[in-house]
Symmetry: C2
Subunit: 370 residues, 2 copies
């Protein structure tokens, strides 16, 4: 079961709100998906994710395949029971991790031949294998295996990658049908920084037909302006009536801008990873909790924030915990940052519903002092 | 405000239950106190401590004095508000840490002259300073600064340490009175492994007069039998109508044995530290979650345990998190171990109240397979 319905649009913008329905619950879009690489969103429980406003989380095929492995997750009937998260899960295909760990992976028509970054063991991740693993994980939204184009890349490289991505997408669709997969299947648009290649990639994928379309190959090292330009050209091409997922993006401002272009779904390690590095998000910008100006600061991270951390702890306490490398620091910081990201998309949805997205955006930038 | 009332005693044993009243709440004894060294019980929140059954926690004078320092904690009116724990807090005096970090500390009549283990800065921890810091922390139970006797120690060394401890205890009592401290004040019995010196130490302290008496200098490297013998001889000497606190002890079996001897209060890093090393407590003994036999184990750590971890997660999941060094592992393990310790003392209290402590003890050992 999978459906998507647009619920409101904002005048003078491509921004829209919608609702995705899955057998494990509804998702209001635009939505941000916290990243749970190894079967936990680092340092927090599923209950805390719910309190932060999470509706769907992301799991990593590559990492979970290697550790703990499908054999174990299968005993639990999937990732949901294994990790105690009852809501929907989107799983990536493993393609992006193998792109990032390129030294350990070799691409052939068949798939990615790679060595485990943990023990050096040899594996083949084919499109079929990727869908099979995602089926085992019990994924609610399965991503096709793709070849991500690096930045910079020649036109020829970008074209080859998108064509392979298309052939793999066909194989993913076929195995998805044969295996009577319970999750929805999303295609990933590649094409590097070449608009016409993006267009071709999308046209090829639409011929195969998917439940939703993702834009891959962004935030891979290109300048911020180029990422935004590429998004501005690609997102409006994506079918209007299906969910549009921009992979691995991004900062709060990126999310505001890409929603404006018509994007519905986001994932990024930024709120969780930066939390563990002491960087915290607020409406006026980011702060680093290590900063000595917080030493005697009895205020919460953000006066207007209603997260567990801001309701109970001061900047002085959080700085102390962080400087002492106390485990609780990572968790309290993570809760705040996830709450911030999920509150941001909630505010965005509210603004679009009231047809005030433009005013929201003006206000969003006006508050920032960076 | 501080009082202690014995509520029940067990026939054929020195075990007793009681109630300590403080201005921040009641404590049922026998009780185990989780250790919150640096202003957090590592990895868990105050709410989770409450869910585990914690009634009182321990804070470390030495560590909190160095980091974040009294100036900061003072802004919050004490440790409770700083760390968001509303229940009673017992603070140690700093003596044990300076005993453990002996290379950095020099003992004089005045106190401990020491260098910070963090930045090498020089400090003096006198009895007066220790009480002053504990006042600043807003401690509900203040411990006198003592000199812990190492093991092994000659009779002369043990005697000198106990005599210095007595003189310091006098100074602690004096500054405690002058400063109109809000916390209760406990004396610490030293005397090494010499029963008559323990007796002398106690007699000296009782002449000064305290709200409760602790036994220090146990679990400092002596054989287990000697620790138990020393406890068996010392605990019954302690005044019957006041709380008896055995510092830094110990294993679940130690607690059962020392309750049998008449002890009321315990603290130990074992449940929290061992949790972070993957060692988990159950009624049948400890398990190490790393063990490959748990790889496919869909059962909780302990079938009879009602902690959050056992209610929601399997051994296979906990092993996976631990092997992957996921931050959530330390927390879920800590919750289980604290729940185990606090359930143990709760069961002990119930057994004493029903006058079945002997039967409880028999059953406690019968279940263990170690």
């Amino acid at each position: 079961m999978f459906s998507f319905k647009i619920q409101s649009k904002s005048a003078g913008s491509n921004a829209r709100t919608g609702k995705i329905r899955t057998s494990r619950g509804k998702i209001d879009t635009p939505i941000f998906m916290p990243v749970g690489t190894l079967g936990s969103v680092k340092s927090v429980t599923p209950e805390e994710l719910g309190d932060c406003g999470a509706q769907i989380i992301l799991g990593n095929t590559y990492h979970l395949y290697l550790r703990p492995g499908c054999e174990i997750i299968d005993l639990f009937g999937g990732l949901h029971d294994f990790m105690n998260w009852r809501g929907p899960i989107l799983t990536d295909s493993g393609g992006f991790q193998l792109f990032s760990l390129a030294k350990l992976a070799k691409i052939t028509e068949e798939g990615y031949a790679f060595q485990s970054h943990i023990d050096g063991s040899r594996h083949l991740l084919s499109p079929e294998k990727s869908v099979e693993i995602q089926n085992c994980l019990g994924s609610d939204i399965i991503m096709c295996l793709d070849q991500c184009t690096p930045y910079p890349a020649t036109r020829k490289e970008a074209q080859q990658a998108l064509e392979l991505t298309t052939r793999w997408a066909q194989r993913c669709k076929q195995i998805w049908e044969q295996s009577q997969s319970k999750g929805a299947l999303f295609g990933i648009v590649q094409g590097g920084m070449y608009t016409d290649l993006r267009e071709k990639s999308l046209a090829d994928l639409m011929e195969i037909g998917f439940h939703g379309y993702a834009v891959g190959g962004l935030s891979v090292g290109e300048p911020k302006n180029l990422m935004r330009d590429m998004s501005a050209q690609t997102i409006p091409m994506l079918p209007d009536q299906l969910p549009r997922y921009i992979m691995g993006v991004g900062t709060p401002a990126d999310i505001v801008e890409l929603v404006d272009m018509g994007a519905d779904m986001f994932d990024c390690v930024m709120p969780t990873r930066n939390a563990r590095n002491g960087q915290l998000f607020t409406d006026t910008g980011t702060i680093n909790i290590c900063n000595s100006r917080f030493k005697y600061d009895i205020n919460p991270i953000d006066d207007v924030c209603e997260c567990y951390t801001c309701q109970h702890y001061s900047r002085a306490y959080l700085r102390h915990l962080y400087m002492a490398r106390e485990l609780l620091a990572y968790r309290l910081n993570t809760i705040h940052n996830l709450y911030y990201y999920l509150r941001l998309v909630k505010q965005i949805r509210g603004a679009i519903q009231r047809d005030q997205f433009g005013a929201f955006k003006t206000d969003f930038y006006a508050k920032r002092v960076e």
